[in-house]
């Protein structure tokens, strides 16, 4: 992979983040029109690789889990990386049922490579032969130079992971080209909104938000990757999205941000401008007040308000 892959996720190695990986894969599957069996094969193998990271890479703790997805004329390639000790490919598994993760990956992928990164951490690289990967071929993030800003941002984000603990957690996504970003961003935003315990009503607004972000930020980026950093807290999401291609791109976007977010601004990260967004969901108390304002109440007369 010369430039950035089509999808790059950097996540804390927690069990619930495997769901996020699968959701991103579903976005990719929708974009390249994988059939249900192809998706099920890749999703199962990818889940096994991720579960290995979650369970084995960082004994007694957590660390980064990086997942990359790349399409080519030959098929789709999935990379799962940890910085601990994700698996020992040559270890014999004496237990009866434990350790079926590797056989599952070997059975479902057309090829699997395990390699250690500089003696620390493990790469699992799986290839799935399908002509549908060609949809994303030749769109491997473009020239390295055009990715410098994004690359910087990712390095920074990687460093930021060390401090993740307790309630707050950040997830990072880089995705492109735009039509892939459309599907993947919608999936990932909905999933983190669900994690933040947003109501389904609020989650439904993340789809239109993803659309708007892709229209105004990703489309002008062309081959560069759209990046998202999402910090999840109870009933609150803080998003950094970028890079912002030009000042002017925000003009068209602002009305949608007014409608779909609870606060927006621009944040500078190195030489790159990012869009900072706050999404929140007040929860049942306020939601039920809102309901009584607009809809027939639970007790007797519908209330009428004149504004």
């Amino acid at each position: 992979m010369a430039g950035l892959p089509n999808v790059r996720l950097n996540l804390p190695s927690r069990p619930e983040n495997v769901l996020l990986v699968r959701q991103a894969l579903r976005g990719l599957a929708d974009t390249v029109a994988l059939d249900a069996i192809e998706l099920n094969d890749i999703s199962t193998a990818l889940s096994e690789a991720c579960n290995n990271v979650v369970v084995h890479a960082y004994p007694g703790g957590q660390g980064p889990m990086v997942v990359e997805m790349q399409g080519s004329a030959d098929g789709l390639e999935m990379l799962v990386r940890d910085r601990g000790h994700g698996l020992k490919p040559h270890a014999s598994e004496p237990s009866e049922i434990g350790g079926i993760g590797i056989p599952v990956m070997l059975a479902l992928a057309d090829s699997v490579e395990f390699s250690a990164v500089n003696g620390e951490g493990t790469d699992v690289r799986m290839r799935f032969a399908t002509p549908k990967g060609a949809v994303l071929a030749g769109q491997d993030g473009g020239e390295e130079t055009s990715d410098e800003a994004v690359g910087e941002l990712l390095v920074e984000a990687d460093g930021g992971l060390e401090g993740v603990n307790g309630e707050l957690e950040s997830v990072h996504l880089a995705v492109g080209p735009p039509r892939l970003a459309r599907a993947v961003l919608a999936r990932v935003l909905a999933a983190v909104a669900a994690r933040a315990r947003f109501s389904t009503e609020r989650i439904a607004t993340t789809g239109p938000l993803a659309e708007q972000l892709v229209d105004h930020l990703a489309e002008p980026l062309q081959d560069r990757r759209l990046t998202l950093t999402a910090t999840v807290a109870p009933r609150r999401l803080d998003l950094l999205v970028g890079p912002i291609p030009a000042e002017s791109s925000l003009e068209g976007l602002t009305p949608a941000l007014e409608r779909l977010t609870d606060g927006h601004g621009v944040s500078r990260s190195g030489s790159t401008d990012l869009l900072a967004l706050r999404l929140s969901d007040a929860g049942p108390e306020q939601a039920s007040r809102k309901k009584n304002n607009g809809m027939p109440g639970d007790h007797g007369e519908p209330r009428r308000h004149t504004a």
């Binding site: 049922i97 999933a191 389904t200 009584n292």
Partner: protein, 250 residues
């Protein structure tokens, strides 16, 4: 109670034809089939159906495992069982009806969302919906995506072009799909196989263990493909009555 050494069991079954040893091996490795079914079939239809397919794969693996090669049984059984499930998905048109199943689930999620919103005065969270419908959070998320995608079209109407697929799915549970029927039968049907005439047993074996097509079997046995089809049909009916399995037609 101490479990017998699987190696001894393999020797007793594969060399001595001891059905008790085979049964013990099935018992021993059934958790493997179960675990693979859970992993591979997570967004699948009834778990039990797919577990039957996995069990068939397990039987195949137990019969074919080569002790002398020295590989652990799992490394041979996992691809065999997964292969069986993949083939089942392909043969049963799973790839076609899965989108339809997802659409039905989307409708249930949409209805539940409205019901819970009315009851509680606010829209439910994904977790609440998952709990209410007894499905995974992930399935709820998929359903929400589907709702969003279909919202402009009518969700209640069948998707354009899906009528045929739906009918095909219904039909595939009917009388024509022998494989489906076989897996419906108890996976431990080896005991009753003795009641089937030798030639039919051979044909069954070629079809379901060696995965030959009806035409290939016809060539080998020296009869017509139609005859193979009829014999398979008769054997399956016979097996069905022997195992008292419920009819497939519901």
């Amino acid at each position: 109670m101490r479990q017998p050494d699987p190696r001894q069991l393999f020797i007793r079954w594969q060399r001595g034809g001891d059905p008790v040893a085979r049964e013990a091996l099935v018992q021993r490795y059934m958790p493997l089939a179960r675990s693979l079914t859970r992993r591979y079939g997570r967004s699948s239809e009834p778990f039990e159906d797919l577990l039957q397919v996995a069990s068939l794969g397990l039987l195949k693996a137990i019969d074919r495992y080569d002790l002398e090669r020295g590989h652990p049984f799992q490394s041979f059984a996992v691809p065999t069982i997964l292969g069986e499930m993949r083939r089942y998905f392909r043969d049963s048109g799973w790839a076609i009806h899965v989108p339809r199943g997802a659409q039905e689930r989307a409708l249930r999620v949409r209805d539940a969302r409205e019901r819970l919103a009315n009851e509680h005065g606010h829209a439910p969270t994904v977790n609440q919906l998952a709990e209410y419908l007894e499905i995974d959070c992930e399935d709820v998320l998929d359903a929400l995506q589907a709702i969003q995608a279909y919202e402009t079209v009518s969700l209640d109407a069948p998707r354009p072009g899906s009528d045929e697929g739906a009918a095909a799915y219904g039909d595939s549970i009917g009388t024509d799909d022998e494989r489906y029927e076989l897996v419906e039968l108890d996976a431990t049907l080896s005991a009753v196989l003795g009641h089937i005439p030798a030639r039919e047993r051979l044909i069954l074996r070629m079809r379901y263990v060696e995965d030959l097509t009806q035409s290939e079997i016809a060539d080998r046995v020296g009869i017509s493909q139609m005859q193979v089809s009829r014999l398979l049909r008769r054997s399956l009916d016979q097996l069905r009555s022997l195992t008292h399995a419920p009819a497939a037609a519901d």
